[in-house]
């Protein structure tokens, strides 16, 4: 039996308060994030968008705990955190799967670090998540034998397996072809609705953001700040080719152009 606690989660509420981050490089100091504050509700699907260098990925890395802010604080349900933690799992643009492990070995990697489970339960949990992403028949495949879309599904199963309360996604579908991507939009929405997990999704694809997000947060670069937020109140599941989605993304595109003119 799979322990119930391993497949149900309490989505977390995230508070980002006045976070600033500067990077020092040969070109001087870059203000990657300048006094950024953002509240994300439990179970909300938030998309962070903006031109490259606007700090959206940096903010995601802060939430993952891979970066520590110079100033400000991050809180999960009111509890400040720093450093990585299984309650906040990250999905990268490249699948980041370990080639020395097979599919189920990859999914088990994080589970093996989790106490209070025996090996049999870990295996069952891993199979459960492989099933959730539709790859139950590929448990013993090697990573290089899978297509790009399948690899990203395994990465999704691996990120979900430790049962995080927040899922962070850094342009996870950018390297995939259109067909595979649209299929994954559907799958991700289904999994998100089923599991009611909080998702923070970084992308530069505005239609993708409008298709997936409850709310879109537009960033502006140099220094990285939040420019504007857009709620998306469209029924789910959404289809990327829905004209209403184009309307939402069109509006953001206009604003993005304004930012471009301002900072040029």
């Amino acid at each position: 039996m799979i322990p119930e606690s391993e497949i149900t989660t309490h989505a977390a509420k995230l508070q980002i308060r006045n976070v600033s981050k500067r990077f020092h490089s040969s070109n001087g100091i870059t203000h990657a994030l300048d006094n950024v504050s953002l509240d994300i509700r439990e179970g909300e699907f938030v998309c962070l968008v903006g031109a490259s260098g606007c700090g959206k990925s940096t903010l995601l890395n802060h939430i993952a705990g891979l970066e520590i802010p110079d100033e400000g604080s991050l809180q999960l349900d009111g509890v400040p955190f720093s450093g990585p933690d299984r309650t906040r799992m990250m999905l990268f643009q490249e699948h980041a799967l370990f080639p020395w492990l097979n599919v189920i070995g990859n999914v088990l990697f994080a589970l093996k670090l989790k106490p209070n489970l025996n090996d049999k339960e870990r295996k069952e949990v891993a199979r459960y998540y492989l099933h959730l992403v539709g790859l139950q028949d590929f448990a013993n495949s090697n990573i290089h034998e899978l297509s790009g879309g399948m690899r990203q599904r395994v990465a999704l199963a691996r990120a979900l397996a430790p049962n995080p309360r927040i899922l962070l996604m850094d342009e996870p579908f950018a390297a995939l072809d259109t067909m595979t991507r649209e299929q994954l939009y559907g799958d991700l929405q289904r999994i998100w609705q089923q599991r009611k997990i909080t998702i923070v999704f970084v992308t530069h694809n505005l239609r993708e953001a409008a298709c997936l997000g409850d709310r879109i947060v537009l960033f502006r670069p140099r220094p990285g700040r939040i420019f504007r937020e857009y709620p998306v109140n469209l029924p789910r599941p959404r289809d990327l080719n829905d004209p209403q989605i184009a309307t939402v993304s069109g509006q953001i595109t206009q604003d993005l152009k304004t930012i471009g003119k301002d900072s040029a």
Partner: protein, 257 residues
């Protein structure tokens, strides 16, 4: 290997041996310089049945394995340390890079001076031939790990020793295998050179057998020993490295040779 490939391989070598036999039969080359393959085969048969060859091969293999294992035991941890600590990288790393380019036979005069005509001298040369290439391979292997693997591992709760054992070491495995293979080749070469130079009472190895073949003008012995040296090299490749490379091909999906 497919059966067709095996047939090609056998035919190719058969042709070479036939050409060799023809050359010696026609008398183009003096049998003192190049004995016929049949003479070499007779020598091999005699020396193997009398036990002389196997004894020499065993002495050599023991030295080789002993030196190789020490080389790995020293080179691998130092290589990992090199990848991890900048100060080790800037000191030992640079020294290792230099010493790795030094053909290990260059250590022989020093080894004889320091250790005399002894097992220790041979061991020293083998260790010097092995350690540096393994050190550098381990260092490079760890440094070339995609940072993404580490970031993914950290978010999954891996840290410190766990990261080393379950992420860094396996990620560096392909590089470490090719470093170990190179280290083996270097150890083998160094030992042969050292055995030809250094004659010691504690054991009569293949190198010494080859050396005395030359002294006695017994080219069948020289060629016979060379054949055995090649055979051991191939066997080691098959037993030690082929399984690892096969695993790399099937798991990683990359063709490392």
């Amino acid at each position: 290997m497919k059966s067709k490939a095996i047939i090609h391989l056998l035919v190719f070598h058969l042709i070479l041996v036939v050409i060799w036999e023809i050359i010696t039969r026609t008398g183009w080359v003096s049998p003192v310089l190049l004995p016929s393959p049949i003479d070499v085969a007779i020598y091999l048969f005699d020396s193997i049945t009398s036990g002389e060859m196997l004894k020499a091969a065993w002495v050599t293999l023991k030295r080789l394995l002993f030196g190789y294992v020490i080389g790995i035991a020293v080179g691998l941890p130092l290589g990992l340390l090199c990848a991890r600590l900048k100060c080790v990288q800037n000191t030992l790393g640079v020294l290792a890079l230099g010493l790795q380019t030094l053909p290990s036979v260059c250590w022989v005069p020093l080894a004889i001076l320091w250790f005399g005509q002894s097992e220790a001298a041979l061991l020293f040369v083998v260790v010097m031939g092995t350690t540096w290439s393994i050190l550098i391979a381990a260092d490079n292997g760890v440094k070339n790990i995609p940072p993404l693997y580490l970031r993914a591992a950290y978010t999954m709760g891996s840290k410190n020793t766990h990261t080393w054992i379950y992420v860094i070491m396996p990620a560096a495995f392909p590089a470490i295998v090719s470093g170990m293979k190179q280290g083996w080749a270097f150890a083998w070469r160094s030992l042969m050179a050292a055995e030809i130079y250094v004659t010691i009472m504690s054991g009569f190895g293949l190198g010494q057998l080859l050396h005395y073949g030359r002294e006695l003008q017994a080219m069948d012995q020289v060629l016979g020993v060379m054949a055995i040296v090649i055979a051991i090299g191939l066997l080691a490749d098959m037993l030690l490295f082929s399984p690892a490379e096969k695993l790399l091909r099937s798991r990683w999906g990359l063709d490392k040779s």
